[in-house]
Symmetry: C2
Subunit: 214 residues, 2 copies
DNA sequence: TCAGATAATGAACATTAATTCATTTCTTCA
DNA sequence: TGAAGAAATGAATTAATGTTCATTATCTGA
């Protein structure tokens, strides 16, 4: 009488869930939010539309999980940099450069997750990760102020927010699907590293201490 | 046989159009985009829903005009500052401070026009004005580099973009309706001017030249 | 005042996807 | 193997607004 999920079934269910997430991510990475439709996801995952709702309570939940997974990885990367042993100036430079370079590796996805207009609830989920990134930058700023490498008298929270807004905005143009300048994949030695280092330089200067005169 | 609009009618039509725009603006300023519905606008303007379509081809056109009117004024203000006789450093500081202070005078409206999720086409119209503001900042950056007040070797376009993103992001938290910290109208001598000057300081430092050593 | 022309109305319509759910198919285990 | 439970299906439903348009009201010039 009892029905208990076999390992086989359990595995298939888990696989379905993964495939749905992967399909959703791929669709966003290829066509942005306009492609992010439940029926498309289902088709791409080889399931019926209604089946998606056996794995995710709603479209928003599904895509928030996609966004969270990708974003959390970026937060982790920045956190590792923020917690490293390098000088605050080096850490700030590395955090910004790394973020820009990584975003440019998957432009369409990064554009969708960072800047493309989307549903309110997904947009709100973005804030979580922006805050998390900002918190790591703030930590670097605090450390820098403590050791005199960064100017005192600036609110670290404001500085971090401005820096995060700055490098995100610096990315948006190059990320935009409308912008063809960065379409070529000349990631190494090309325009992308130059962009990253320029953005990082401006961000670092925003908080750097003035060299002690004399 | 012929029908020619009387001055009276002409005036009434013009007045209707203005009232529609004013109502639309007021609704956005009070409730943001969720309130920006054609039927609400019509009711607030004392007209029927369908009548709005005698003055504007679509909802998007109407609200793009609202956004344009408000945004262009801000562009004009910044342009005046950018073209003034002050030093580049003073102009940059003034541009950022002024923008922040003006935005904080009508937080809900500024939030809607700058950051609140909205329809794709309205969002695209935002970019126009962000670019226009960026162009003015870039002009200041160029002038500053030319006279040695700002560091050479930075792409003025990138610097301007990062600065604009920075102060916009610095504003978003304080502008957000969710944020109660700035709800009080202590505009003078209070938290708002302090915020503006902190944001401006960070932005200015991003491009300022290092004092010549020795 | 009246015919011709325009303006205003607002209920009905159109659109677009998300979501539901009655039905079908698959799984389990005695 | 078959009865009961679970999973999958996908067409129909829902919902929320922007937009239309047949109808009504108003205006102009003679």
């Amino acid at each position: 009488m009892a029905y208990r999920k076999t390992d086989t079934v359990e595995a298939r269910l888990a696989d379905n869930r993964k495939r749905i997430l992967a399909a959703a991510r791929t669709l966003v990475a290829e066509g942005g939010w306009p492609e992010a439709q439940v029926s498309h996801v289902a088709a791409a995952a080889g399931l019926a539309t209604g089946s998606v709702y056996r794995y995710f309570p709603s479209k928003v939940d599904l895509f928030v999980e996609v966004l969270s997974t990708v974003s959390q990885r970026e937060v982790d990367v920045i956190e590792a940099i923020a917690g490293s042993e390098d000088s605050p100036a080096q850490r700030l430079e590395a955090a910004v450069t790394t973020f820009v370079l990584r975003a440019m590796r998957n432009r369409r996805l990064a554009y969708a997750l960072i800047a493309e207009p989307c549903e309110r609830e997904i947009d709100e989920a973005r804030l979580t990760y922006r805050h998390a990134i900002s918190a790591q930058i703030m930590r670097i700023v605090r450390d820098g102020q403590a050791c005199g490498a960064f100017r005192a008298g600036i609110d670290p929270s404001i500085a971090a927010t401005v820096i995060v807004g700055g490098f995100m905005e610096g990315l948006i143009g190059p990320l935009s699907p409308l912008n063809a300048d960065f379409a070529g994949a000349d990631r190494d030695g090309g325009a992308v590293p130059a962009l990253a280092s320029q953005i990082a330089e401006v961000c670092c200067a925003a908080v750097a201490a003035l060299p002690t005169p004399g």
